[in-house]
Amino acid sequence: MSEVRPVLLIVDDEVRILTALRRVLRSERYEILTAETPAEALRLLDERRVDLILSDHKMPGMSGLELLARASSKQPSAGRILITGWTEEVPPEELAAVGVRALLPKPWDNEDLKATLRAALASDAALRLG
């Protein structure tokens, strides 16, 4: 029987990052959706149920944090993870306000990334079950 795969939405304005993340996560059995702009991401959220959103922070037009805030009103159950370069600082209270589950650095470590995504899904699942 075919396993129900968790749906992961990745947002980054850098298409090579999207490709690399997709490549890294190939073995993780996610159904991966990608968006190159926050607007495209919001559109996808209207069409598809998503389990986890992984978004870059610095993007034209809208920051990743803002995107995640809007996403939480569209799909509150979707886990939210932000990737930031070391040059940007996001205040912890803003992260908490948006309910960001984890903050990943850019460049990231592939194993860390996989573990972070798994942990986020597991705790979301636990929350949903509980």
Binding site: G61, K106, W108, N110
Partner: protein
């Protein structure tokens, strides 16, 4: 004999003869007039016919003697009485020698009497002459007394009003008399001073410093001593100075001592000396060179700094042209001042020292009328700019470092993306490699089986290979491996470009100017900065074809960089995190004999009150650490060194526009200055 005396003195004498009228008494019966003629032609004789007319004539003043004919009778008496009140004597000619008549005449006031008769011609002239002598002597004495009185009054006035203290001393140096100024000067009444000794009255320090004893001794001995100046301390602070002189007045050894207060003159002289010293000090020690050059270009004055900068001692007499060996004379700035009185402030030029070294100087020239009033001289003040140029370079470089610091944030982000995916790709490729290695080992097993020739073993190995290939999705791995390599290569290429741009930007170019395309300069600068601002800014480019400009391209890039960063910051200030986009428009065009580069933004704009200060060094409205405040002033300096100008237009809330104008041809001196 009397006549000869008159002739000898060559004096005109006026004798008035009062005669009874012809009608009454027959005129000059006594022969008075002929007798008086014996006195000679100097005796001017006038005849009057009444006492009244005689008196009237006497009162006119120049009559020496009146001779009265006694036959005038009663009138004779009244005339004599009247003459008493005048200095003019009256001599009576009597008709006979009777004593009674003579006595009467004397009582009435006659100066003398003569008896008429044959002897009159002999007696009358002598008597007349005697009287005239007397009256002359008296008159002379009166005049002398009057002169003396006048002299005394003059003397008195001088003594009273002269602004010098005067004292007359006896041989024992006791004061005989002092004038009011003396009394005032030394605080003692003029009367009280008399009889006191000089050394009791004058302050001891004045006696000492003015060598008063010595002066008086020299004067007493009849010598004239040179004037001395003595000083005395005043109660309220300060010093009074007196010029002291003494003269011997007479054989009794009386001395006149004159003390003139020269405090004011001395303090003025001191003040002038101080001012001179002050000016001299400034001129000798100022860090600017000061030269005065005559109309022929010969140096007439130079201060030590001028000697230091010009690298030569004893400058006066040398020609300034020596320091401009390659410049035509009429092009030398000072020559323009000499030729037509042109003034320069802060012009920059380069001098050549005797050892061939070039020194950049900043010079100000002004015309100066020469001492004889003819022709023009010039005064020039200049500074050695070598050090300033060095500092300028440093400031320029450090400002650039700040810009680079600002850039670093943007660039780091820009590098992070490729590093991010390259890093992820590498790790993934390592995994792919692990899979492919397993596949390779399987392949080797199959090869081994084929070589063994056992069909069963070959089939098993082949199935194993198929299974593994399927398990690892080998065809995908192979193609994705290639893709990952390609993408990573592209990533490293992107990083290499960014680093290259940065390196270009941070290079110091202060060497020779070179021909450059400003469109390229502007564009490559915009490309670097773009990475930082692309999330908030739309960049529009409007470039026209431009002739190549001889310039320092890196320096101009620094200017463009500053303008772009300012534009970006103005936009960031306005749009914040709202997600709105601002616009920066870059445009280039020809204008006249130059090139215009314009950077406009739709940012916050500059408040009018700060608009006038934005080119000032260290003026900044940014937070600490965001900028040094040197950006625009550095830009201004760079553009100025290129002979150009920067203009700014700004409207609060609408945006700003900075327009840089760069001339294609620059004045010779500026180019020379840039290479020094």
């Amino acid at each position: 004999m009397g006549a000869s005396a008159l002739t000898h003195t060559s004096l005109v004498v006026r004798i008035l003869v009062a005669l009874p009228t012809l009608r009454e008494a027959g005129g000059d019966l006594f022969g008075i007039v002929p007798a008086l003629r014996c006195l000679g032609p100097e005796a001017r004789i006038e005849v009057v016919a009444s006492a009244a007319s005689c008196l009237a004539r006497v009162q006119q003043g120049d009559v020496d003697l009146v001779v009265v004919d006694a036959r005038l009778g009663v009138e004779c008496g009244s005339l004599l009485e009247a003459l008493r009140a005048t200095p003019t004597p009256g001599v009576v000619v009597l008709s006979d020698a009777g004593d009674r008549q003579a006595l009467e005449a004397h009582r009435q006031g006659a100066a003398d009497c003569v008896v008429a008769g044959d002897a009159l011609a002999e007696t009358l002239p002598g008597v007349a002459l005697e009287q005239i002598r007397r009256v002359r002597a008296a008159r002379e004495q009166g005049a002398t007394e009057q002169r003396l009185q006048r002299l005394e009054r003059l003397n008195d006035a001088i003594v009273q009003t002269i602004p010098a203290a005067l004292a007359v001393l006896d041989v024992h140096q006791r004061l005989l008399v002092v004038n009011p100024e003396f009394a005032r000067s030394f605080g003692i009444g003029a009367q009280a001073a008399v009889g006191r000794r000089l050394d009791e009255l004058l302050p001891p320090d004045l006696l000492e410093s003015g060598s008063v004893r010595e002066i008086l001794a020299q004067a007493g001995a009849g010598e004239t001593s040179p004037a001395r100046v003595g000083h005395t301390l005043v109660a309220g602070g300060g010093v009074r100075a007196f010029d002291l002189r003494a003269t011997r007045l007479d054989e009794d050894g009386r001395l006149l001592l004159v003390l003139s207060d020269v405090s004011e003159r001395e303090s003025l002289a001191r003040r002038i000396a101080e001012l001179q010293l002050y000016n001299e000090n400034i001129i000798q020690n100022m860090n600017s060179a000061l030269l005065v050059v005559d109309e022929a270009g010969a140096i007439t004055f130079a201060n030590p700094t001028a000697e230091r900068i010009l690298g030569a001692r004893s400058l006066p007499g040398r020609r300034i042209w020596d320091w401009f060996p390659t410049t035509p004379r009429e092009k030398v700035l000072i020559a323009r001042t000499l030729a037509r009185g042109a003034r320069f402030r802060g012009a920059e030029t380069v001098i050549t020292l005797s050892d061939g070294r070039l020194v950049p100087i900043g010079i100000s020239c002004a015309p100066l009328a020469s001492a004889d009033g003819r022709g023009l001289a010039a005064v020039a003040i200049f500074q050695d700019l070598s050090e300033i140029k060095g500092l300028q370079r440093q400031a320029f470089q450090s400002e650039k470092l700040v810009s680079i610091g600002q850039l670093a944030a943007g660039v780091a982000h820009e590098i992070n993306n490729p590093v991010g995916f390259i890093h992820a790709n590498l790790l993934q490729m390592a995994e792919y490699l692990t899979d492919l290695r397993r596949l390779w080992e399987c392949t080797l097993s199959l090869q081994e089986a084929v070589r063994g020739g056992d069909p069963e073993t070959i089939r098993t190995a082949s199935k194993g290979l198929d299974r593994l290939a399927e398990e690892i999705d080998a065809s995908f791995v192979v193609s994705d491996f290639a893709k990952a390599v390609r993408e990573s290569q592209e990533g490293t290429e992107r990083i290499r470009h960014i680093v290259q741009d940065l390196r270009d930007f941070s290079r110091d170019d202060t060497g020779e100017p070179m021909l450059a395309d400003l469109n390229e300069c502007l564009d490559s600068t915009a490309n670097i900065v773009w990475t930082l601002m692309k999330h908030q800014v739309v960049l529009k480019r409007d470039y026209q074809e431009l002739p190549r400009l001889r310039c320092y391209p890196m320096q101009l890039q620094q200017v463009f960089m500053n303008l772009l960063m300012n534009a970006y910051q103005a936009i960031a200030e306005r749009v914040g995190q709202s997600g709105e986009m601002g616009e920066i428009r870059l445009s280039t065009r020809r204008r006249g004999e130059g090139i215009v580069v314009e950077v406009s933004d739709t940012g916050a704009g500059i408040p009018p009150e700060t608009l006038g200060r934005i080119f000032d060094p260290f003026f900044t409205t940014k937070e600490v650490g965001v900028g040094t405040g040197l950006g625009l002033s550095t830009s201004f300096g760079i553009v100025q060194r290129h002979g150009g100008t920067i203009h700014v237009r700004s409207e609060l809330g609408e945006g700003s526009s900075f327009e840089v104008f760069l001339p294609l041809e620059r004045e010779e001196q500026r180019v020379a200055e840039g290479s020094a």
